[in-house]
Symmetry: C2
Subunit: 499 residues, 2 copies
């Protein structure tokens, strides 16, 4: 390790420690913090933000980055990608003027409150000026970051480094083309899965115990992580050896706790699997939102909604819930967790229709960021697209364009990563079936270790030293594509509805 | 607020945020952290330590402190004590050479492990070299800090600013003189309180619910704090509005959870009561270990073991534990929680004999730090003093000089604060009875708010802007004394044993 690398490592360590502290306070705020602590907690969080900013943009860091930049070619293959990430993070920080950062933080804070009220009151008009403000600020930010083709590229880049509108568009448009055929097929089958077995009273403690037992078997390491409760499930990490999941429990629906925990465990196993040598560098953590989401959706959907999984999981589910499952079979529950039906709310959508929710948002963001769509026209376009793509129309903006939190913090460019995650997951799944021929038998036997080992080897360990494009190309030998997902969902529809 | 004060405030804010982060990670480590996270967690903690050290000893802070020092008289009465605390903290940091700090940290780490093993194996000899090393390092530290009379003063000063061996010695020696008479009195009474009612199976969850209900009634604000479980009860805080208590539960003894939580709630109410304007300054937090302990012992012992308290608390205790309390009265439990009996272990000792455990340690520390007592002679002196003061003799060093963790981290000068806390508490209690004449009736009615308000007004709000001597003098018009405690315990002995 060179002296120059050591200098960079020292800065990264401090930055990483502060990042962990910030995530810690946020995790605690969602899980345990007493209600009255919110004001002082916010001051602490702002303190960490500001200290991190000072460290990354200090004169000595600037000077260090300049020296590294000119000598990047001299570092070895372990050090170079870590330092590249350091430079990228620095560049992202310094490209925005401090006044813009401060103004954006203020606007986000107001918009967040306004969004909550607007949604409750079903009043898009009261949210519109805040959306306009954030749109203006994010357009300004995109101009500061810079981009080659489309302004939204600069913002997508924050979540999915290197991916562009030009790459996403053809993938989404082909996905959109397949959609009517697939939905028509679902609707053409006479049978409808019955999920009433899952929608009845389930003891909350038992649900949590069951869900934890499931993710332990999938491979989530409880010696290096834990589970708590929060209003909105999430995954965070303070170290590779300290990954925190949260879940929530619906006393009248067995799916909520189980599937949200499988989802978060997918994120968590990614974080647990990152090479320990990357600890306290800026190349630790998942490489992109899309790849992170590929891991959560892989375990939640591709594994967790498969016939093989339920063949193994159902007898265990029965042990926890003998009353509720009396008279039901593994086949019943497999069908019940695979209902496909167009609906208004993204987060409740099934595996197929989910993508249309995302495509709608992406198309609107592209137009908003390029100033082709006026904020005032957002509800009308939303409703028109919902009707066109899914055949359902919101009865109120609260169930339409006001349903998501993302625009209220100016998170334009974030939505596509949800769909990308699923497309990546389907691509990986096809490759896993080639690399591990008996993988379906493994799942049927509850033997998940070979799958996790494959993901560790191909995805997890790299952290941010490889971007999503490198990862998916190394695995599949090709770029992002919708084809794997389409064939996956096509087969599942036949399997669930056609039998 | 002057510009100079603002500069100081900015440094203190950062320092305080890092302090909170460190305490957060430590709290989590004791309560929730997954076992496998310990290594990476230690690296994070060391990172915060080092960053705090760098900030407090940086060239810009040095220069800032120098400017403040020359102009301290110009600040107003709110600012001056805060800045004095800033200067003191800075001085404490810079007086020790970095090599000594690092060597001490290393020695503490080794000694901690060695102590655990030595205690388990009952082998003082294997701990002796570590004790010698820490003693040498702490003597060196005391010389760096400086002192006027006794070398131990420099170390006591870390926990109880300004207090000296010369002040403690006469107080302890008078306390020691009273002790034989008081113990003889206990032993002269024919009746022995029976505490078997408290030592039987008690449901753990119910114990925790009961204990939390009790401290809520005492005044611990659950909107600004919470309770978790840990192996060793403690109190920590991340803000005045975020105070965390922990407790432990013995399934076969109702005292452990209840009294440890009342104790920690005493610490916690102190932290909750500090003036919010001191948040993120170095004058936030309790002013000294002794005053902190006065608050915990006030609620645990002076209130929590009083007849008036149990008059109010027993019917409620009965509601939680109807089976265990059948046939018992408030008087029975009052007597049961006031058993006095010499024993080997400090943390299990009663209100009277506890002080002899402390005096023994203090006397030995005075001799060790002045190199009059060889480390090898520690066990013999310990055992001789135990027999002389308490009439009991350890059957093994594990129950003798190896029982406490304190010397294993070189915490010489810490022990006296435990006794001082109780002496302060008794002094405050005498004054409260004067200031709030119906206070005993209040307690009998479960009306604790006037007592808490008194403590808020006289002690809590000041944080570290007044030291223990100022606080106790302002309350009682005199210095630390053992007299109040002696009359308090004398009366309680008569009341419990003589009736």
């Amino acid at each position: 390790m060179t002296k120059l690398y050591q200098e960079a490592a020292a800065v990264m360590e401090t930055y990483s420690d502060l990042d962990a502290a910030r995530r810690f306070l946020q995790w605690d705020q969602e899980t345990l913090m007493p209600a009255g602590a919110i004001k002082e907690r916010s001051e602490r969080l702002a303190g960490f933000d500001s200290l991190q900013h000072r460290i990354l943009t200090s004169e000595s860091t600037r000077e260090l980055i300049a020296r590294i930049r000119t000598r990047l070619g001299e570092f070895d293959d372990d050090e170079r990608p870590v330092l590249s990430e350091f430079i990228r993070r620095f560049d992202d920080k310094v490209k925005l003027p401090e006044t813009l950062v401060a103004e954006t933080a203020r606007a986000q804070s107001y918009a967040g409150e306004a969004w909550k009220k607007a949604r409750a009151a079903n009043s898009f008009a009261s949210f519109a000026p805040h959306l306009q403000k954030l749109l203006d600020l994010k357009i300004e930010a995109a101009e500061c970051y810079g981009y080659e083709e489309h302004r939204l590229d600069a913002l997508i880049n924050l979540y999915e480094r290197g991916l562009t509108v030009a790459q996403i568009k053809p993938v989404f448009s082909r996905l959109k083309e397949h959609f009517p055929r697939l939905l028509a097929k679902v609707q053409s089958f006479p049978s409808r899965p019955d999920n009433t077995m899952l929608r009845q009273p389930y003891d909350k403690d038992t649900q949590l115990q069951h869900a934890q037992a499931v993710i332990r078997d999938l491979g989530f390491n409880f010696d290096r992580g834990r589970v708590d409760l929060s209003a909105h499930p999430f995954c965070t990490h303070f170290a590779h050896s300290d990954v925190r999941l949260t879940t929530r429990i619906d006393a009248n629906d067995a799916r909520t706790c189980m599937y949200s925990l499988m989802h978060e465990a997918g994120h968590g196993m990614y974080e647990q699997g990152i090479d320990e040598r990357l600890f306290r560098t800026l190349a630790s953590g998942g490489t992109s939102m899309g790849i992170h989401e590929s891991q959560s959706l892989f375990w939640e959907d591709i594994i967790g909604r498969s016939r093989e999984f339920w063949h193994w999981a159902f007898p265990r589910f029965q042990e926890y819930f003998p009353g509720q499952t009396a008279g039901s079979s593994a086949e019943d529950i497999y069908r019940a967790v695979n209902t496909i039906e167009p609906s208004l709310i993204r987060i409740d959508a099934d595996e197929l229709t989910y993508h249309m929710h995302i495509i709608l948002r992406f198309e609107m963001e592209v137009e908003m960021i390029s100033r082709q769509l006026d904020v005032d026209d957002v509800p009308a376009m939303w409703n028109a697209k919902m009707e066109e793509y899914l055949g359902v129309k919101p009865d109120a903006d609260a169930n339409g364009c006001l349903q998501d939190v993302h625009w209220s913090f100016g998170g334009f460019g974030y939505f596509p990563t949800y769909s990308l995650g699923k497309l990546y997951a389907a691509m990986m799944w096809n490759q896993i079936q080639i690399d591990i021929p008996p993988v379906r038998d493994h799942i049927r036997e509850g033997k998940f270790a070979p799958i996790l080992a494959w993901l560790r080897e191909k995805v997890h360990r790299y952290g941010r030293t490889r971007n999503s494009s490198q990862i998916i190309n190394d695995i599949c030998g090709r770029d992002l594509s919708e084809a794997d997902f389409v064939s996956y969902i096509d087969a599942r529809i036949d399997d669930v509805y056609g039998n």
